[in-house]
Amino acid sequence: MAEYRIVLNGSERRWEAPGGLSLLDLIRDYAGLTGAKYGCGEGQCGACTVLMNGRAVSACITPAEAAQGAEVNTIEGLAKGGRIHPVQQAFLERSALQCGFCTPGMIMGAVALLASTPEPSEEQVRKGMAKHICRCGAYPRIVEAIQLAGRLQREARRG
């Protein structure tokens, strides 16, 4: 057994659990947050994307041990004070989804992308989101939604 300690969506959490878990196992099976999904188990689809110390990581290939003491943010912690995040709002406005399975990971990836590139061009979105898969094929809408989210964030800051 091992002790795992992470700051999950702003709260310090501890678990006693078997060694060798992935960060995704810890988040889903111990913290009970199921927004991050298992899609491939090899960091190739982005469905499990969460933020670790502000960077987008594939939780399925991140050992839980590597997240010791880190700040981990998941889709569940994105809305603040009952208001959804501009990226969530933009995905809704553009109907940038179909089944919604990739959406939580896609949104977390977009949050990280916009943090480093607040006004991404179409090409920058495509490159920045390269590791995410949407099998329903909503890519053109997702590109638009992420660019819209960038504009919404800038307006919110100015506002």
């Binding site: 078997p18 060798g20 878990l21 992935s22 196992d25 099976d29 947050l33 199921t34 927004g35 991050a36 999904k37 298992y38 899609g39 491939c40 188990g41 090899e42 190739q44 689809c45 469905a47 998941t74 889709i75 569940e76 994105l78 809305a79 959804i84 969530q88 709002q89 995905f91 809704l92 109907s95 989804l97 179909q98 089944c99 919604g100 399975f101 990739c102 959406t103 939580p104 949104i107 979105v125 495509r126 490159k127 989101m129 390269a130 995410h132 898969i133 949407c134 099998r135 329903c136 094929g137 909503a138 890519y139 053109p140 809408r141 997702i142 590109v143």
Partner: protein, 720 residues
């Protein structure tokens, strides 16, 4: 095939395509053996019972069956019940809005329960783009009948003229009287009979249908609250894993599970070729399964060329269909052989396609639980499926239970695309749960998704045509081997034609994939049309138009050519394809970026003109069409299942490429909305034109005619 499920499939009102191999084959597993209380789940209230339309050749029990469509609680909650499920294709949104339209309620006031065999009517599987043409009208008729019944009841109750009763603000009103739906439902004692021929709201008065609508579950998608099977909790649940052979087909010879047996909380289940474990946590189950050393007797797989040869050798000649069959394996007109031999010019070509994987992002998953009801075994399984009622029968057969003792609760699917029509994972979870005596959740890995699931069938297609120098088609002969009958009929005008589907024994597990064989058949038909146009030195769009009388098809072709810049295409890699599929008319003009040295192509722009008849939710329809183009370009350009010896080589996403952001073109969708024409389902048809349009673009820019899917593979194999 006289199984329960076979009888069920045969009893469906709707003909299904013969290449739905997964539905017509036996259950994956057959295990030895070891009154529903469902209404309580919805709480007190009134369940409105409507007699289901009964197909003429239905069994006696089907004829006795009643289906229930609406539930109204005393607390004024209206729930629509349907056997259809949500896969991301928008059934939840569309059916809710259709009910709201007829009930004169805001859509957010109508709840929907989908795909729970213990609660909902059997609307058939969520397949073949039938939700729009079949289930939507059924829901509208039932909602209109319910509305009229309640209006009648209110008029009698108040002694008011019927015409004075209206639905306003979610309530029935007349003069000083007002009662909401819940209060009306309390009056069931005075209700009698369902008014026949309740009028449907005409399109000119639609308030919700025909309007763009966001997804009903969009909020839960973006917040991560939407739960798929693997996200659902169950009290005391254990987790399962199945030990698989590496080979595609294998028998279990022996297994050494000593190490797994020593792991705390691990149970091992072996029956026949089935070998699985349960454990307290998912990671522990995976670890236990990995530790088991199993020996398998493996069956070798033929290579692709040998597989196609096998299809031809093993082919059964298509037989003339019974009248009225929707997907006939043989469609003939006149004497095609005579017309061919009499034609001034003839052209022959052969096309093929490799198998591809659905690769829905959500892996198959199920949660099974056994209980006792009235002292008898009762099995409940939740999971993502397109066909809850068919899966229920698969479970009933596998465990030798009466179907009434099995309940399947369909969870929302994270994509399906035809891949979630069988109960493999349901059966496996149920077998493990029976051993464990507790609920068991089983989630397939990506490797299981790619190697254990059925795939889109490979196939080979021979086409012969005869034509005259003026560009008029005179004869058409079309043979599809193994891939299927969907999209087989010829919709260009020709005096004599013979189109047949030859079923054949196949070495791979194969089955339904979005639009079924219509992708293969449209690729062959459209590519052949282009080849004939080239021989005649005619513009391929012009050649198609010369052989088309269907006015709606002509219109989409002309419009797509104009919007796609077909006339000014010199110097650009433009391609074109058109089709009539599932009653929709569609034409696609694409621009590709072609690299002749690397023998690769990328889609840059795609302009689709789509005419489905009436457009019910324009934004979501566009979303579906865009998605189908994106999905279609994978199978067109690069997707293929590869194998060597006995086993698949494509076992992970690093060895099975699907379309990503970088593959995504600029997509423009133009809809033609014909309010008075019955709407066609549109989840499938748009995918059919993608491969032939890209092949056309590659030909027009390089002169290379690629006749096999995926195209990049065919290109690499072309001699220099």
């Amino acid at each position: 095939m006289d199984s329960l499920k076979a009888r069920y499939i045969a009893s469906l009102e709707i003909e299904l395509e013969p290449e739905r191999y997964e539905l017509f084959s036996d259950a994956t597993w057959r295990f030895s053996p070891t009154r529903r209380e469902v209404l309580g789940r919805l709480g007190a209230g009134v369940l409105f019972v409507f007699t289901a339309p009964v197909p003429a050749r239905a069994s006696a029990e089907a004829k006795d069956a009643l289906s229930t469509r609406f539930h109204i609680s005393p607390t004024n909650v209206v729930t629509l019940l349907t056997g259809k499920v949500e896969l991301g294709q928008g059934a939840r949104t569309l059916l809710t809005r259709a009910a709201a339209e007829e009930l004169r309620l805001p859509p957010e006031r109508v709840l929907i329960t989908m795909g729970d065999t213990g609660l909902v009517p059997d609307d058939g599987g969520t397949w073949a783009s039938l939700t729009t043409p079949e289930t939507l009208p059924a829901v509208r008729r039932a909602a209109a009948a319910l509305r009229e019944l309640l209006i009648d009841t209110a008029a009698k109750l108040w002694g008011a003229p019927r015409e004075s009763v209206r639905i306003e603000g979610g309530a029935f009103v007349s003069g000083p009287h007002r009662r909401d739906f819940g209060q009306m439902a309390e009056l069931r004692a005075v209700m009698s009979g369902i008014p026949a021929g309740a009028p449907l709201t005409p399109p000119s008065e639609w308030r919700f249908l025909g309007q763009p609508a966001g997804q009903a579950d969009g909020w839960s998608c973006v917040t991560g609250e939407k739960q798929f099977t693997a996200d659902l909790p169950a009290a005391g649940m254990l987790h399962g894993a199945v030990v698989r052979p590496r080979a595609h087909t294998a028998r279990l010879v022996e297994a050494d599970s000593e190490e797994a047996g020593r792991m705390p909380g691990v149970r091992i289940v072996r029956e026949g070729d089935f070998l699985g474990v349960t454990a307290l946590e998912p990671a522990a189950a995976r670890r236990a399964a990995r530790s088991i050393k199993a020996k398998w007797d493996e069956t070798p797989l033929p290579d692709f060329a040998a597989m196609l040869e096998g299809f031809r050798k093993g082919a059964r000649a298509p037989v003339p269909p019974k009248p009225g069959v929707r997907y006939p394996a043989l469609v003939t007109k006149g004497d095609a052989a005579a017309a061919l031999s009499g034609a001034p010019f003839r052209h022959e070509s052969t096309y093929s396609l490799r198998p591809i994987a659905h690769t829905a992002l959500e892996p198959r998953a199920a949660i099974a639980e056994w209980s006792k009801v009235n002292g008898q075994d009762f099995l409940t399984v939740r999971g993502g499926t397109q066909a809850p009622f068919a899966v229920r029968l698969e479970l009933a057969e596998a465990f030798r239970l009466a179907p009434e003792r099995v309940r399947v609760i369909a969870a929302d699917c994270g994509g399906a695309f035809g891949g979630k029509q069988r109960g493999e994972v349901f059966l496996e979870a149920a077998r493990l749960a029976r051993d464990a005596g507790k609920p068991v959740r089983l989630v397939w890995s990506r490797e299981e998704e790619l190697t254990v699931a059925y795939s889109r069938p490979a196939g080979v297609i021979d086409v012969k045509s005869g034509f005259n120098p003026q560009g008029q088609l005179l004869a058409w002969e079309f043979h599809n081997y193994n891939s299927g009958a969907a999209g087989l009929p010829m919709h260009y005008d020709v005096e004599a034609s013979w189109c047949g589907f030859h079923a054949a024994p196949a070495p791979l597990r194969q089955g339904s994939y979005r639009s079924l064989a219509a992708v293969a058949n449209t690729f062959a038909r459209e590519s052949h049309m282009e080849e004939v146009a080239a021989r005649l030195e005619l513009d391929p769009v012009e050649f198609r138009l010369r052989n088309t009388v269907d006015a709606r098809l002509r219109e989409v072709m002309e419009k797509a050519a104009a919007l796609g810049g077909w006339q000014g295409r010199r110097g650009k890699a433009l391609g074109f394809a058109a089709n009539i599929e599932k009653d929709a008319r569609l034409a696609l003009c694409v621009e590709a970026a072609v690299d002749p040295a690397a023998r690769t192509a990328r889609l840059v722009r795609a302009v689709m003109v789509f005419d489905p008849g009436a457009v019910l939710n324009p934004d979501h329809l566009k979303n579906q069409i865009e998605g189908a183009i994106l999905q279609g370009l994978g199978g067109a350009l690069f997707e293929e299942i590869r194998w060597e010896g006995t086993a698949f080589v494509s076992r992970r996403l690093t060895s099975y490429r699907v379309p990503r952001f970088q593959d995504s073109p600029k997509v423009e969708v133009h809809l033609i909305d014909r309010r008075t024409v019955e709407p066609a389902g549109a989840g499938e048809s748009p995918i059919t034109v993608v491969a032939p349009a890209i092949a056309s673009a590659i030909f027009h820019s390089t002169g290379k005619r690629l006749r096999s899917l995926p195209l990049e593979r065919a290109w690499r194999e072309l001699p220099a």
